[in-house]
Amino acid sequence: MRTNVITSEEREKAFAPTKKPDVIERQKLDVRYHVEDYDVDNRPRRFLEAFAAILKHTNYRLALEHFIRVSTKCSRCAVQCPIYQATGDEHDIPCYRSELLLSVYRRHFTVGGSIKGRLTGSGHLTDEKIEEMAESFWNCTACRRCTLECPAGIDHALITHLGRFILSEIGISPRALVVSTREQLEGKTGNTSAIPLPALVDTLEFLEEDIKEEKGVDIKFPLDKENCEFIFIPAVSDFLMEAETLMGIAAVFKATGGSWTISTENYDAINYGLFYSDRILERVIRKLYAESERLNATNILIGECGHASRSAKYYVPVHCGGEKAKPVLNIMEYTYRMLKEGKLKLNPNVITETVTYHDPCNIARQGWIIEQPRYIIKAFCKNFVEMTPRGTENICCGGGGGTVSIDEIRPYRTLVGGKAKGDQIRATGAKYLIAPCANCKKQLRELVEDQKIDCEVVGLHDLIYKAIILDDGQTENQKTNRKG
């Protein structure tokens, strides 16, 4: 991956202050994302207390002990980091970022480090260092490309993940994420977008009418059906923003006769805990799982959303019974299976424009979902072009790790975080950019707008909706409808 460093003009825009000086003074925190007021006294002490508690009750010590011994500081990770490639600032090299936290660990939680620190009277955690971590850990989009490159096998994303978790315990987390999660876990609506149930029901009825009008077929969004094969939970924002994705998914279920339901008590798979707190991650997972138990669904099916899929797939087993926990699938896995089994028919003459596919980091980096969507796309899109690199080595949209939800840093996301992605999209010349992830979609739409790239960002099921053949009579129905 090679991308040019941003211009000084772009730098000014991307790093422009977003907060008033009095807020910075009050919160003792000069970072670009907004933070709710928190206790600023004794930050280093409280940071270390939180760090100690986390080390005691988690498995991070294993990794930290290993990383402080093997790190060779070779800076190879720098070539993989889209942020560093765009800023050219050495503070953005993943290994530098990791060292911020590793040095705290070494100084305060290892015998050798604390003896050395006490003898020399240096290296202890300061307010300045906390501020640097608060800035640095949220400059990263947690895309995990650097972990592919490190010859010593250091997982810098794990350290960023832990750093954000510790910071959150002393009250330093982006307000956008905290407020949404509070509504999801403690609010009346129980979801991050604060969509009340009646509004959801209205939306679904509206979508059903739309499908009837466009496809001439009655398709229902089943609510609270018990004993289904799948409980379907998308990122809740899809109900507001991604009508076509949802209609596509409903159409796939109609065509394949799948047994599915949407729950009225939990219709949000967004899990910002993955981005800033393992405690929140666990709570959201338990809530999600409880709903699948209430409706007695066999499998948990997550919509087109990278982080929601990853958090459910990997943390439902962690928090809800290990291998006995219900299986978690991403909707693309279901659609892929149905297509392979011949239960789904797609018209190859509908999408004739050039199509490209963006791999969401959270489902592609570990090699989980890469070929399935491509199999589907190639089955009905005539002009499919790949981005380079792709798959496990894909480049992040620039809004990963929860940063996409932080609206005040949009210029940073689209000019710095998404710079390499922008170059990649432009090179394909595609009309449709498929991004099967709620976060990627939002980021990429802002990216193509800010970087003035001419292409439409869509979900995979948006295009499936256009091309799906629902039954033999359907094409005729469609024709009649259109004539009517």
Binding site: L62, E65, H66, V70, I93, Y96, T147, P151, E169, R283
Partner: protein
């Protein structure tokens, strides 16, 4: 001089070798112990073993990544490591020492190979050293040991090269050999306590990463209790 050399080759070598072996065993066992502890605590005990093994092999034999990312750096680094590992273990002169000392021996490198590998390692270490100085990012990250290691590592290689391949006066030979033995022993005894520990720990990296992402099942309750945050709002 001869007495000093005998001391360095005898007791001092045994000491540094024991420090190295015990030190490496200690950190390896610590890692494995931590991993077992983490595994017992993990809420989900299914590990992607196959994936970790493939990744580990790819890390140990980085043939694919060498030519796709930073090719010059990678090739130099790989060649350097090959020489660094093979020469001390498979040099005929070293094996003869083992044989006369404790009576064991093994396959040895042909002499011309050993010479070539020695020169390659010296050149590689210098290139890595210069690369570190010349790269802004690497300079920013580097600690003292990162600059010192390549220089320290080439000392026994250079001195060994002169002892084996040039005609030296007896005094010069003894002096060069002393440098060779002492620098080698310094390396052996520092090995477990510095970044060179990666020589035994890197094969564990992928398993450790996989395990570290497997959280314990009840993180929320336990951390809340520790930090007096029970019932606190989000």
């Amino acid at each position: 001089m001869q007495e000093l050399l005998d001391f360095a080759r005898g007791p001092l070598f045994r000491l540094s070798f024991i420090i190295m072996i015990l030190g490496l065993i200690r950190i390896f066992i610590l890692d494995v112990y931590n991993a077992i502890k983490a595994y017992k605590r993990a809420g989900d005990k299914r590990l992607a073993w196959g994936d970790a093994i493939i990744k580990t092999l790819r890390w140990i034999f980085p043939i694919r990544s060498a030519f796709t990312r930073r090719p010059i750096y990678s090739v130099v680094s790989i060649l350097f490591h090959i020489g660094l590992i093979l020469v001390p273990i498979f040099l005929l002169a070293h094996i003869q020492l083992w044989k006369s000392g404790i009576g064991i021996s093994w396959w040895s490198l042909p002499n011309n190979w050993a010479v070539m590998l020695t020169l390659m390692t010296i050149a590689g270490a210098l290139a890595l050293f210069l690369g570190r100085i010349g790269n802004k990012g690497a300079r920013m990250l580097s600690r003292k040991q990162d600059y010192l290691w390549p220089l320290l590592l080439i000392l026994p290689f250079i001195s060994g090269y002169f002892c084996a391949n040039t005609v030296l006066s007896p005094q010069a030979y003894q002096f060069t050999m002393l440098i060779h033995v002492l620098s080698g022993e310094l390396i052996l005894s520092l090995l477990p306590f510095t970044k060179i520990a990666h020589c035994v720990l890197v094969p564990l990296s992928q398993f450790i990463i996989a395990l570290a992402w497997k959280f314990p099942a009840h993180v929320d309750d336990e951390i809340c209790a520790s930090l007096n945050k029970k019932g606190a709002p989000v």
